[in-house]
Symmetry: C2
Subunit: 430 residues, 2 copies
């Protein structure tokens, strides 16, 4: 919708059609976990703008419950209203997003083994939760974490299964451990290094079986990751990148003339590594749509890439990361130095200073910042965004130390936690 809106704004006479498989456009999938927990009161609140709004106010010809089954160099085949229709195009924007990975575990097809992708999935899950007490969450990434928090909020018993030794694979082990403590404190039953091998039950799931044990459950959320939904791209013969997402250039063009790809289906560049990367998150997705729409309308704008910034919340704990983790950097053969410091979020004398932990990762030789991870009970957004802003510039640890960050007693100590971390890390560079 970001691309469609942009084209229509710049070229009001363009005939812009949108085909959407589900019944909603312009909705917030990131809000689905909070819908489950009742933090968001109803499904319609997750819809930014209605289909009618786009049709009537923006002049975009939106087709919902319209599944694009095939596509060629100047047409799409759309299944809608029980019939198949063909539409011609001059320019095509592929925004098919990502789909949840469903590993071929025996029993995964049972009723009550759920994934969350669109609003309909959220509505169905919410309904099924009403009759569930013990809920399994398979996967300890962002979605698993947010679902777990919201299930605990509902009073459910949550069992989280992660086959790796720690949750949150984009965080380093030491930082992830801090998050795990928070989950356990709030009553989540955490099963680490425990691979799920089977879902048991009759028609409906009633058991999660792992390599180590068997656990009764009434419902299971699969949250083991997502993959770019490239089915249509492959039918079009689009080049996929090394990440298996659709290859795009900086203008969001694919390998096929007049075909753009944006959002979670599209590959981009990591500005820290300079390599191709696929980090499917909403802000970049929306900006890619803006860029594609602008270029389609005759402007010339480049999407520069991402650094991999993300934030979430697990109960009281805010969790942010940007750039490379230490483990990621080492896998990419960087010569890495890192530091973790514990600090407070306010001047010590100001009431209720909160604990915050900052981990910085840098290149040993040059001192260039590679990434940061921050967990704490407030102020994580400020610290993560500061580092995220610096990363594309090749800023060093020293640059961070000397960054002119805001200070007043209610907001930070005189030596901001980021600056303290940078100061300690500078020593390792000498």
């Amino acid at each position: 919708m970001s691309a469609a809106s942009r084209v229509k704004r710049l070229l009001p006479k363009a005939d812009v059609k949108v085909f959407e498989r589900s019944g909603f456009v312009s909705y917030a999938p990131c809000g689905i976990p909070y819908l489950l927990g009742g933090v968001v009161g109803s499904l319609d609140k997750l819809v930014h703008y209605s289909v009618d709004f786009f049709r009537e106010r923006r002049g975009i010809d939106v087709h919902v419950h319209a599944s694009v089954e095939d596509a060629g160099k100047d047409y799409v085949e759309v299944s809608e209203g029980g019939r198949s229709k063909r539409y011609d195009w001059d320019v095509l924007v592929l925004a098919t997003g990502a789909r949840p990975v469903v590993p071929p575990i025996p029993g995964v097809e049972l009723e009550g083994v759920l994934t969350l992708r669109n609003l309909e999935d959220g509505a169905k899950a919410k309904e099924m939760l009403a009759r569930a007490e013990r809920v399994g969450v398979v996967g300890g990434g962002y979605i698993g974490l947010e679902v777990a928090e919201n299930l605990v909020r509902l009073g459910k018993k949550v069992l989280m299964f992660e086959m790796l030794p720690h949750i949150m694979p984009t965080l380093d082990h030491d930082v992830a451990k801090r998050v795990e403590r928070e989950l356990v404190e709030y009553g989540v039953e955490l099963h680490l290094s425990e691979k799920v091998v089977e879902f048991g039950g009759g028609e409906r799931v009633s058991r999660v079986v792992t390599e180590k044990g068997s656990y009764d459950v009434d419902l299971v959320f699969m949250a083991v990751g997502v993959r770019p939904d490239t089915a249509l791209a492959e039918r079009l013969g689009l080049k996929l990148g090394e990440t298996r997402a659709v290859w795009t250039d900086s203008r969001m063009r694919t390998s096929l003339e007049n075909v753009y790809a944006v959002g979670d289906v599209a590959e981009t560049v990591n500005l820290v590594t300079g390599k191709r990367d696929w980090i499917p998150l909403a802000p970049a997705a929306n900006k890619m749509g803006f860029v594609a729409g602008s270029n389609i309308a005759g402007m010339d704008i480049e999407f520069p890439g991402v650094v991999g910034t993300a934030i979430t919340k697990a109960f009281g704990l805010e969790i942010g990361r940007t750039g490379l983790s230490e483990a990621q950097a080492k896998r990419l053969d960087y010569d890495v130095v890192s530091v973790s410091i514990s600090a407070k979020t306010r001047a010590g004398y100001y009431p209720e200073p909160k604990a915050i932990k900052v981990k910085l990762v840098a290149e040993a030789e040059s001192g260039r910042l590679l990434g940061a991870q921050v967990v704490g009970y407030e102020g994580v957004l400020a610290r993560i965004n500061t580092v995220a802003a610096l990363l594309p510039w090749g800023a060093t640890v020293r640059d961070l130390f000397f960054a002119d960050l805001a200070y007043a007693p209610p907001f930070a100590p005189v030596w901001d936690p980021l600056v303290v971390a940078a100061r300690v890390l500078m020593k390792k560079l000498h």
Copy 2:
């Protein structure tokens, strides 16, 4: 103390002496307003480390109640314990700070007309407040604002006098107006464009007289700004910069060999304008001490300069700024474009999104960001520090738009308020 501690850490055998006029070192003057309001329970909480700590644990020879009356090229004359003593030095660090401006208004010498500089001033003010109901605050800058908030917290009637048409001279008029509304909502009686011409009363102040009227008060806080305390620097014959603070190079050296100046007495460079500037704030002051101490101990570190980042809070409202305001930029003859947008701090569907207002200032031709002002009920630190981090790199509005900022429903909308502002401002650049 930052410089002294740094030298002593790197050169444990160095004979480091500190002379301090007041009875405290390593204290937090920024906390004094909160001491008045009772947010900080007692004066000792504003002392980070005691004199004994520095003497015994860090081996620094701290002299308190020791006023340096004169200095020459290898000595200082110190008045302490009722006597004058002479100490020789090889290296001298001048950290005399800033002093409150006391304009020559008739009656300004009356009892009950107060300034806040050190902890003793805070203690005295707190004592006098016990017998005051109506309190005048002259000056609507950071200190005036923080004092006003804390006086209202104590139940005092606060009258604020500002001779300019708006408070907060480092903010633009439109942004300052938002802050003024907050003050008025909380009961501050605001007198703008109203110059104080006299303080009336017998021994003790009982009246503020302005060009427009006369107001009964029991106490007055003067908070009309600060000046670098260069008395000693002038005795030493140090070069003052164009800002009238002590000229320093990037290593914090003054014009005289082996004499350094750091903190609020020292001039530095504004990284946005490239010009000399004097912006006396605590984080830069501490880092200057670190830099001077490092260089004295034989390292070679440069203090790059500041961009003028500051934050404060007035009642519920968080107020941040960095770089140049539109007014400042115009005074410096930049060809300026700017934008102000209103947004929310969380996804719209997430509970309790707060209002936030972002103003961006940029150079029209190049699109280079010159500054930002942000006011809102949460999340101001994150937005201000993001722009503060970008400013030294010559980042453009487009760079800000494409910054990979963190998003999750509890922390930000998908289009962060900063990104929305950048998007709108980009249009003015085409």
